[in-house]
């Protein structure tokens, strides 16, 4: 049986105007509840009492539309967007685009959550505090770490929190000036370099050895009395598990440094391998990817930062604590790094992740891990023989885990069609743009795919067939592939230079109007 390929797919293409072009002067989308006449009368001329110059002279130039027109406009825009719940989104390697259950949206819409104010009396928020506490216990068990905070607003933010904790740890020992270097690896997520740099550290990056594993000899050359910590992913973004990860930890510990485990790629290792057993002092999870909550087009997200007891005093405040009867928020942590985000973080993500985890249980998490690696190896096997396609460090004798970094280098050399072209073409088959890799490309013409547990055998077969089809197209008619997409919501941009030209770029409609006015 040949797998399906959506050959006649056509994405919605509404040629949707910008909302300002839809404005009907005087129209209203919603009316605002105005105060009672008595209130207005007693209040008097509130605007007249404003300090000089503080009364807005002209109304803001917002569009004016009836409610139906606002609704249909944004429905059109939603239809011109591919979300993971509606597509075969194996594409986003390192991002774990899994199914995001609808029930969880019902739960966060419950006013007993949606309409909670963060400064309510503790007695009135025992439910959400209990959810935080329960999910803390779950994360601690999954990581093996002693403490966790959910304040960071995403994975990168959790890595930044880690860097802040490392900074506070060394400052508390009076050694921050000396311990000013953080080591990372090139196939770790770039935030493992960028977040420590933001926190003021120098960053030292290790390259892989010939097998694609971070070079342990390079690590030995890198550690010194300046080493504050290592920040590393495992498996890295190329899907190869570093079997000597505990040696890395040992080498850094022996040099006096701390060890942080970036667990953005944790999905396939739930209940299989933990930060604790490898000896790490800290780790983090991208709650929004590993625990089934939606990405929201780039947030709201959540990063769970976990650490060993020794580092717990530095965690941001407040901490959720349980006294055996009631849950409390504890701000009394004198060594805390303070805050990385206002209030208690993205509580909705925690609520959804808790619900997801409660439906899965320990067996479900293990099944998630098992099916993720089976899916990936199945797909890798099916990709064999596609012309022009290879993958990084082929032949190193190591099985890939949850994802693979493929390379279109042979296709590029043969046809001139590179990964960016294939990526534009894949949209013509109803599949989301895939993840290549960060720049500069260490693996040429990369394509990083992560077929996590959500995807069925048919999804995997479809994806492979689409890849095979595009390869064939590239060999037959490279120009056609290079002109893609042909059936997406929008055609190709034809003037990228305008996006780099201060006289032409327009980040807002008003800027556009100013710059195009004759």
């Amino acid at each position: 049986m040949t797998a399906r390929v959506r050959k006649d797919y056509q994405q919605a293409r509404w040629n949707e105007p910008v909302i300002y072009e839809l404005s009907l002067p005087g129209a209203r989308g919603v009316l605002v509840p105005m105060p009672d006449g008595e209130v207005q009368a007693k209040a008097g001329d509130v605007l007249g009492r404003l300090p000089k110059g503080m009364r807005r002279a002209e109304l803001p130039n917002l569009p004016e539309l009836s409610q139906k027109h606002v609704l249909s406009h944004y429905l059109h825009l939603s239809q011109e967007t591919l979300g993971s719940n509606i597509t075969n989104d194996i594409s986003e390697g390192t991002c774990t685009m899994k199914y995001n259950p609808r029930i969880n949206e019902v739960l966060v819409g419950d006013p007993r959550f949606a309409e909670l104010h963060p400064d309510q009396d503790e007695d009135t928020v025992q439910g959400i505090l209990e959810i935080y506490h329960r999910f803390s216990q779950i994360i601690k068990e999954i990581s093996g770490m002693d403490e966790v905070t959910f304040q960071p607003g995403g994975g990168n933010h959790a890595v930044y929190t880690a860097a802040s904790v490392v900074r506070a740890y060394w400052a508390a020992r009076g050694q921050l000036e000396q311990r000013n270097e953080i080591i990372t690896t090139i196939f770790s997520h770039p935030c493992d370099a960028a977040a420590p740099a933001t926190a003021g550290f120098k960053v030292i990056t290790l390259y892989p050895d010939k097998q694609g594993i971070p070079d342990i000899e390079a690590l030995k050359a890198a550690v010194s009395e300046h080493t504050a910590a290592i920040f590393m992913t495992n498996p890295e973004d190329i899907g190869i598990f570093n079997p000597r990860v505990d040696d890395f930890v040992r080498i850094v510990h022996e040099a006096g440094g701390l060890c942080f485990y970036d667990q953005a790629n944790a999905n396939a290792f739930l209940g299989v391998a933990r930060a604790r057993e490898a000896g790490f002092d800290m780790c983090h999870f991208n709650v929004h990817k590993t625990f089934g909550t939606p990405h929201g087009g780039e947030g709201p997200a959540n990063g769970a930062f976990c650490c060993a007891n020794e580092l717990a005093p530095f965690l941001p405040v407040p901490r959720v604590v349980y006294d055996g009867k009631k849950y409390h928020l504890d701000y009394d942590k004198p060594q805390s790094i303070g805050k990385v985000r206002d209030f208690m973080g993205t509580a909705g993500v925690i609520l959804k992740a808790y619900a997801w985890t409660m439906m899965m249980g320990a067996e479900g998490l293990r099944e998630t891990a098992d099916v993720s690696v089976i899916n990936n190896n199945y797909m890798l096997a099916k990709m064999e023989g596609i012309r022009g396609l290879d993958y990084a460090f082929r032949g190193n004798g190591i099985r890939r885990q949850e994802q693979v970094r493929y390379t279109w280098e042979p296709l590029k050399n043969d046809t001139g069609v590179g990964t960016d072209d294939v990526n534009n073409r894949i949209a013509d088959y109803g599949i989301e743009h895939y993840w290549t890799s960060h720049h500069p490309w260490v693996i040429p013409e990369p394509m990083t795919l992560e077929p996590c547990e959500t995807y069925s055998i048919d999804d995997l077969d479809e994806y492979v067939e689409v890849i095979r089809t595009i390869s064939e197209e590239a060999y037959a008619d490279p120009a056609f592939v290079k002109a893609a997409p042909h059936r997406a919501a929008s055609h190709r941009r034809n003037d990228d230079a305008s996006l780099d030209d201060p006289a032409k770029w327009a980040v807002t409609w008003r800027a556009h109007v100013k710059k195009t006015r004759k």
Binding site: P35, L62, V70, T124, E130, G299, K339, S490, R492
Partner: protein, 469 residues
């Protein structure tokens, strides 16, 4: 027990899994995990709560937990201070619950054209509110926006000291301090606790050619309106520093946008624009500047720009100034970006499109009228001073209870008994204000709600022996 087929895991069907493993030539997933050395493997089964496998069971369980909460819907709330109770129109929820937006990723310009356009429209409408031409994709929250703005300024002018008005939100200040720790010094500017407003003498005394930026919030965290924006801008610009102003955008239908009194960078919080409070999880920050390359180059986050496509008349979108060139000392100060709060940006776009110019004006005016009405009622209660800080305010004001001999904690406990969440207790954050609370009034409050508050307060205070002469 037979093998569980998980609804969220298609290939957990045992026969399918077997077929796939046969294809790969393995007996179980353990053959793949064999790449992980034995001593690094977790042995046994994680000690997690027993799963609630059916959706119904799980829902019962979670709703059981949520039932332990009391919300601002079943109570009457006057809490603000960084998260505010506003009405969220149904259309906003409809749009941001669309699976296309909800489950999108960063995306690309063609297959996610709609998301790009929605983000561009968010920037366009927020840009009109703040009267600026460049607005970034949302940050984690307002605090994060200030932190980024401050670092942008420091990179632009190479200076390492910022002055911030001490009336700013202490929690936001804690975030800013954390971000500034490596190399930027944060100094506090005194403010007038009686009349409200920045102490300009203190500003003049502390500002110098070492000052990178001055930051204040308008309306302030304590609710009062800063009336000397122009003068602060003049003093700030005289030393070549940047003026950064934080703003609650729900005020901008009636209040002058900071750009018009000299702000160079404006930041603020989108939560009031159509995002549910969610226990403080509904926050989403923004940054806006003038459309000059020196500012545009410093944004660490994506900027969605409007352009053309090969199809005549079609709008296209892409990243503006994607490969930024180098300015001044930016190489020495870095930022990271990541997944922040894009979906809330779309919520804000839908909200502003629904509200329109008149809606934003009505919102602002109505809020001010309610607050003025409330201040009159509360200020008339014995021992109560409201507003405690004299300057005109927006949405919030400080209520002082020193004259009642009671603590805010005691009063709020009494109010809670009557189903009311009293204002935020400021005695921890601003001890110099005595027993004060920050009360917030928005369009959700009716005349009767405000009266009910006043009566409940009166009753609560009467239940205590009077101290006031």
């Amino acid at each position: 027990m037979g093998e569980i087929v998980f609804p969220y895991i298609a290939n957990s069907v045992p026969s399918v899994k077997k077929r796939m493993m046969d294809e790969i030539g393995i007996k179980s997933a353990d053959d793949i995990f064999a790449e992980i050395p034995e001593h690094l493997r977790y042995k046994g089964t994680l000690n997690l709560p027993k799963p609630l496998l059916s959706e119904y069971e799980m829902r019962r369980h979670v709703e059981g937990l949520l039932a332990k909460n009391s919300s601002c819907e079943d109570h009457l709330s006057f809490l603000g201070g960084g998260t505010w109770q506003h009405y969220v129109p149904a259309v906003v929820d409809t749009i941001i619950e669309r699976d296309e937006f909800l489950t999108a990723y960063v995306g690309d310009a063609y297959a996610d054209h709609g998301k790009f356009q929605a983000m561009f429209e968010m920037a366009s409408m927020v840009g009109e509110l703040v009267d600026m031409d460049v607005v970034n994709t949302p940050t984690y929250d307002w605090a994060n926006a200030i932190a980024i703005a401050v670092r942008m300024a420091a990179r632009m002018n190479g200076r390492k000291e910022i002055l911030v008005d001490a009336s700013m939100s202490p929690k936001r200040l804690a975030v800013v301090k954390n971000y500034c720790l490596p190399d930027i010094t944060v100094k506090l500017l005194d403010f007038d606790r009686v009349q409200g407003g920045m102490n300009l003498e203190d500003l003049k005394a502390k500002i110098s050619s070492a000052t990178s930026a001055v930051y204040f919030e308008n309306p302030s965290y304590l609710g009062f309106i800063e009336g000397h924006g122009e003068e602060i801008a003049r003093i700030t610009h005289a030393v070549g520093a940047e003026l950064i102003v934080g703003v609650d955008p729900s005020s901008l239908g009636v209040l002058t946008p900071p750009a018009q009194y000299g702000a160079d960078i404006v930041c603020g919080e989108l939560q009031p624009l159509g995002i549910h409070m969610q226990w403080g999880g509904g926050l989403s920050g923004f940054i806006a500047t003038r459309d000059e390359p020196k500012y545009v180059a410093e944004y660490p986050s994506l900027l969605f720009g409007l352009t053309t496509t090969t199809q005549e008349g079609e709008h296209g979108f892409g990243q503006v100034y994607y490969e930024r060139t180098s300015y001044a000392s930016r190489e020495r100060g870095k930022d990271f970006i990541g997944t922040t709060t894009a979906l809330y940006g779309i919520a804000a776009a839908v909200y502003l499109a629904l509200m329109g110019p008149q809606g934003m004006r009505d919102l602002g005016l109505g809020i001010m009228q309610r607050a003025a009405f409330a201040a009159d009622l509360l200020g008339a209660l014995p021992g109560v001073k409201a507003p405690y800080i004299a300057a005109p305010g927006f949405k919030e004001f400080v209520v002082n209870f020193d004259g009642t001999g009671k603590t805010v904690a005691e009063i709020n406990q009494a109010l809670l008994q009557q189903g009311i969440f009293g204002g935020k207790d400021l005695s921890g954050e601003f001890p110099e204000l005595g027993q004060s609370a920050l009360y917030a009034f928005t369009e959700v409050h009716t005349k009767d709600d405000i009266r009910r508050l006043a009566l409940a307060l009166d009753e609560a205070l009467a239940a205590f022996p009077q101290v006031k002469a």
